[in-house]
Symmetry: C3
Subunit: 208 residues, 3 copies
Amino acid sequence: MFGTDTKGNVFFDLFVKSAQNAHQTAKLLADLLDNYDDVANKVRQIKNLEHQGDDYTHRILESLAKTFITPLDREDIQRAASRLDGITDQIDTAANRMMLFKIVKPTEDAKAFAAVLVRATATLIDAFEKLRNLKKSDAVVNCCVEVRTQETEGDRIMQHAMAGLFEGPDLDPVEIIKWKDIYRMLEKAVNRCEDVADVLQTIVVKYA
Amino acid sequence: MFGTDTKGNVFFDLFVKSAQNAHQTAKLLADLLDNYDDVANKVRQIKNLEHQGDDYTHRILESLAKTFITPLDREDIQRAASRLDGITDQIDTAANRMMLFKIVKPTEDAKAFAAVLVRATATLIDAFEKLRNLKKSDAVVNCCVEVRTQETEGDRIMQHAMAGLFEGPDLDPVEIIKWKDIYRMLEKAVNRCEDVADVLQTIVVKYA
Amino acid sequence: MFGTDTKGNVFFDLFVKSAQNAHQTAKLLADLLDNYDDVANKVRQIKNLEHQGDDYTHRILESLAKTFITPLDREDIQRAASRLDGITDQIDTAANRMMLFKIVKPTEDAKAFAAVLVRATATLIDAFEKLRNLKKSDAVVNCCVEVRTQETEGDRIMQHAMAGLFEGPDLDPVEIIKWKDIYRMLEKAVNRCEDVADVLQTIVVKYA
């Protein structure tokens, strides 16, 4: 079946699906933070999407093994797949830690991070859709620039969050430890979005 | 000498040796945790193996420089070498931190991590042995799947450990900081095992 | 214009500039730590260099898109560019955290880290200068060995710093959290120097 897919649509389809899955995960995280109830159940739903993401990655790698001529370099396909998966993984870990740490109330900075992740993953869906047409490389590059802007916004949130953790007269070290960890996971999720943008730009540069 | 080694046995031999070295390091860690005495001496033995691992990596890179036709892609050889080395490095750092932090008594979660590392590195020795015969790529892939299962087990231990750190009425923030750091190193060591499995799968896919 | 640059001087020039920029950033960090006043202003200067570093990376990638025949493999050029940038990024983050965390007095270990970064980045300038002449690969390799020695020195500082944090009768958990974070950033900056050395060695091995 893959042998007849000379345009390599199978890869583009799976990339878009994996990006949509990351986007869906980001939206569930935003919902968890905005409506912080039924936490265990919402965290479980995020975990389910994380498994779904693993499945897409697995299918991409399996298709790669069965396809002789690939539409993009093999290494780029593997890298894009594993980095896309990384976004979902990091969001899952962040949500999971909130539950493990018995966080009572999410912070505004955490909500801001989730909003950036929702936007950045939406941009990545767009980028992978546009990747189908390698002649329109400018459109892909524009998406990459946008993701980088969103990552800069993530940096700004991280700085605000870090400063906030150590402000005030009665610092609770245990709370600081918990939130510092969660913010680090959220920051990493945003960085993974930029990593995906970087591999997309690498791909597009080759075909420019 | 390498010039006459047309089958590239030198690389496969060194990979297996480096994997055996990582496995030996994991076993010393398990012993350190199970019999927590004579700590400085045991940590020094682990450091010696870490240096040994550096030496294997160095010899792999040196052989690469001297070999015109390599049995695997140059980049894959470099990547496999450096990731294998990464396992040993992380175990060494974890053991070293236990000494630096003057840890009095290891936790059950740390012991569980060490057990996973012993198993995952044993699987990697097996995988590199099987890599000699690229026609038996299924056998290598099966090892990779096994390492991934072991990494999932590592995730589970990490979650248990993280939840445990923040439980109880009298939390000691300094103890939490120490153990969170050590668990992160152990988790990274397990992740490095998966990174090696990923590069092995990349190699095998190319020759499938 | 790049089309006529058959020797690819544009890439070597930009690599040297990016390495010089990382070196300048390390020197500003050393000055910040040695003369710990006017912090906000000095941190802003470091941030400016970080933006400058992004600009060099961007120009390298742009030149890559416009150049048909590159003097080095495309992937190596991209990797070297992004890792060089990583050094500057990490130093910027470390300096920024010192300000955000309202650090009152820098430690001797932080100063020692800055000194290593000044030396390692100076070695990298040297290495990229020598890369222009791929026939002198030994000279590049010697620089890589030197950077690795400096990274080992960084490891030693990290161990000293980690042990120091947890010594003494009146431990302040909040101070420990702050410094552990800053040391981690400084250690990462040193590791990025080694990552650059690794990609340099990869490049040189190919042309040996």
